[in-house]
């Protein structure tokens, strides 16, 4: 495990919390033992390692400014969460135990620009909140939602979360931010730097250096508002739910989808998943086997048969005007037929027609049912991801799959994987399902994850996102020219946050003088 960061002194924390409580009020400051547990990680390897000291819930950017200044004055670390639902990546918990969590859940303003298909949001707005807002007003704009949509729209985009529609790379939808800097100053990025600019949510860059991505997966500022582009409701959605029978079908499937994605026949972010990704939502392990270790081929075959699953499956969707969709569907059908899928079920939807909730991901409807996978072992569970960035090569992806699958078997884990297409890259999102009721099992998780990270690193693959336990380890892989990127990040960090109070350790970026806990 990464070594702990030096905790702040109890006296400093008490004084800081008292001053912060004066800003937000006693009904928005939380420091009981129960509160500390509630703001801890709920899919943890060790639930005690990242326990915060307290949490405070401001309702305005001005309160955030005041809280930051208090943290600087008392030199206590603060850890910002939008809604604190980042399950699998640390939930609401800070890297540094004893930090004070800044919980922005109560900042919930929504301003939609219907004509331009944009929204300006505060971080406390969840996917369900925004969906309800649009639906109840009959606004024909769609979100893109992640598989667990309990969290914040802004928070997910700031951690580079994924969805499944043409707006599925959520960080790309960001357009213009309001940010409180670590000294309490406030900046608006892009066109927002001009007071009252009508183009803040329309043009991503403004003039000169563009800063939005500097505040993504970083600890350089606290985003208190952000613009997002929304998808105009399409005239029609069509596509195919495709199942491929054999393990080795992954390569040809990737090589079929990749060119269509790069060319723009497919504009969505298609995600190929293995059979287990579908099955672990529907059933529990004990219904199939009492054997420890990875599931046997016989058990896998039985589960696949029960639910009619291929070894791999993918849902491909084409969105837009009828005539364009028809033309792209013809291309898609021909390409898919050529690789002989096990099944290829057509899908079609027009506005006003009902659709199954299981289609929600491709229709921009928030959902939580995929988190039923946390119950795979029958008791308390969860998941931690291992998500290297790959090329869109079927051959190289098969090699990465074979390496990873062999490691899952070696460590006795059940293999869940997906291959999520970007426009040029592919994210190989593997989930390690946790059995929190089995200490022996849990002891294997950390060495397993470190082995996967090291394997990928050898081939030049680094992760796109990390759980708080692995931020240093993942950052350590990005080590060109003696860690020049980390050195740059930390020069910026020290310039903006000389007191080192804002989310120390986030994405492996530490303030000067703080102990780096890296374990290679």
């Amino acid at each position: 495990m990464d070594a702990p960061h030096t905790p702040p002194s109890a006296a400093a924390l008490d004084k800081a919390l008292k001053a912060m409580t004066a800003v937000v009020g006693s009904a928005a400051a939380f420091a009981t033992e129960e509160d500390r547990d509630a703001y801890s990680d709920h899919f943890p390897i060790d639930p005690h390692r990242h326990r915060p000291f307290a949490a405070v819930a401001p309702t305005s950017a001005e309160q955030v400014q005041a809280l930051v200044k208090i943290a600087v004055a008392h030199r206590v670390p603060i850890w910002t969460v939008s809604r604190g639902k980042n399950l699998g990546y640390g939930t609401a918990a800070p890297v540094v135990a004893g930090s004070i969590v800044l919980d922005l859940s109560r900042m919930q303003r929504i301003e939609v620009d219907v004509e331009n298909a944009t929204v300006l949001l505060e971080p406390g707005v969840g996917f369900f909140d925004l969906y309800d807002y649009l639906q109840t007003r009959n606004i024909p704009l769609w979100l893109s939602v992640p598989g667990n949509s309990w969290g914040s729209v802004i928070g997910n985009a700031l951690d580079r979360g994924l969805g499944y529609t043409p707006y599925g790379e959520h960080t790309r939808n960001l357009c213009g931010m309001e940010v409180v800097l670590p000294d309490g100053d406030m900046v608006r990025t892009g066109m927002g730097a001009m007071p009252n600019a009508p183009t803040w949510q329309l043009h991503k860059y403004g003039y000169g250096p563009a800063w939005d991505q500097l505040f993504v997966q970083s600890n350089f500022g606290i985003v208190t508002k952000a613009g997002m582009w929304l998808m105009p409701q399409p005239q029609i959605v069509r596509g195919f739910d495709v199942e491929m029978d054999r393990m080795e079908d992954l390569g040809p499937l990737i090589d079929t989808i990749g060119p269509l994605r790069r060319e723009g026949v497919l504009l969505q972010s298609p995600t190929i998943g293995n059979w287990f990704r579908a099955a672990n939502i529907l059933t529990t392990r004990k219904q199939w086997t009492d054997q420890p270790g990875s599931l046997s081929d016989e058990v896998i075959a039985a589960i696949r048969k029960q639910f009619g699953l291929g070894w791999w499956g993918v849902s491909l969707r084409v969105y837009g005007r009828e005539t364009v969709v028809q033309a792209n569907m013809d291309i898609l059908e021909k390409a898919l037929t050529a690789i002989k899928p096990m099944s290829m079920k057509p899908f079609s939807w027009r506005p006003g027609e009902p659709f199954s909730p299981t289609q929600g991901g491709w229709m921009g409807v928030p959902m939580t049912f995929p988190m039923q996978s946390a119950n795979w072992f029958g008791g308390r569970g969860g998941h931690i991801g291992f998500s290297p960035v790959l090329t869109q090569s079927g051959k190289l992806a098969m090699e990465q799959f074979n390496r990873t699958y062999a490691r899952y078997k070696e460590f006795g884990m059940d293999y869940q994987a997906s291959f999520a297409f970007g426009e040029r890259h592919m994210l190989n999102v593997n989930a390690v399902l946790l059995n929190l009721d089995d200490p022996q099992f849990m002891k294997r998780v950390d060495p397993f994850l470190r082995t996967l990270i090291a394997d990928a690193r050898q081939h030049g693959y680094g992760e796109y996102r990390a759980h708080i336990d692995y931020m240093d380890t993942v950052a350590d892989c990005y080590d060109y020219n003696n860690h020049a990127l980390r050195r740059l990040n930390e020069r910026v960090k020290n310039a903006l946050d000389p007191a080192g109070i804002l989310a120390p350790g986030k994405s492996g970026v530490w303030p000067a003088g703080h102990h780096r806990g890296t374990k290679a």
């Binding site: 929504i110 849902s315 049912f369």
Partner: protein, 104 residues
């Protein structure tokens, strides 16, 4: 995401509009129904342990307000604790009264 195979579910129930008032039913739909509504994670997992028709919390007759508040704050099995930043004590009390249908 790959295709998810859930069988026998109706279409999504629309959630109530956002509001800051303390109407228990409305707050339940804002704060809880994403998991405890028709196709949520909570309903899906509770349906493994009880009759599916009473898996949605609004269909239950055996919940007390005290139990609902405790369960929400400390979590149960795969349900994480609900923070006080997300749902205030006053909001949770209102939700608990609604789900308990008059029981303390």
């Amino acid at each position: 995401m790959r295709r998810w195979v859930l069988i026998g579910l109706s279409t999504l129930l629309p959630l109530a509009a956002h509001s800051a008032d303390l109407d228990g039913k409305q707050l339940f739909h804002e704060k809880c129904a994403m998991c405890h509504g028709a196709v949520g994670m909570g309903t899906g997992l509770l349906a493994r342990r009880m009759k599916p028709e009473v898996a949605p919390l609004e269909m239950r007759e055996d919940l007390s307000a005290a139990y609902v508040e405790r369960a929400a704050r400390v979590g149960i099995l795969n349900m994480p604790p609900i923070t006080r930043g997300d749902v205030s004590d006053a909001q949770l009390a209102s939700i608990a009264r609604y789900l308990a249908k008059g029981k303390p």
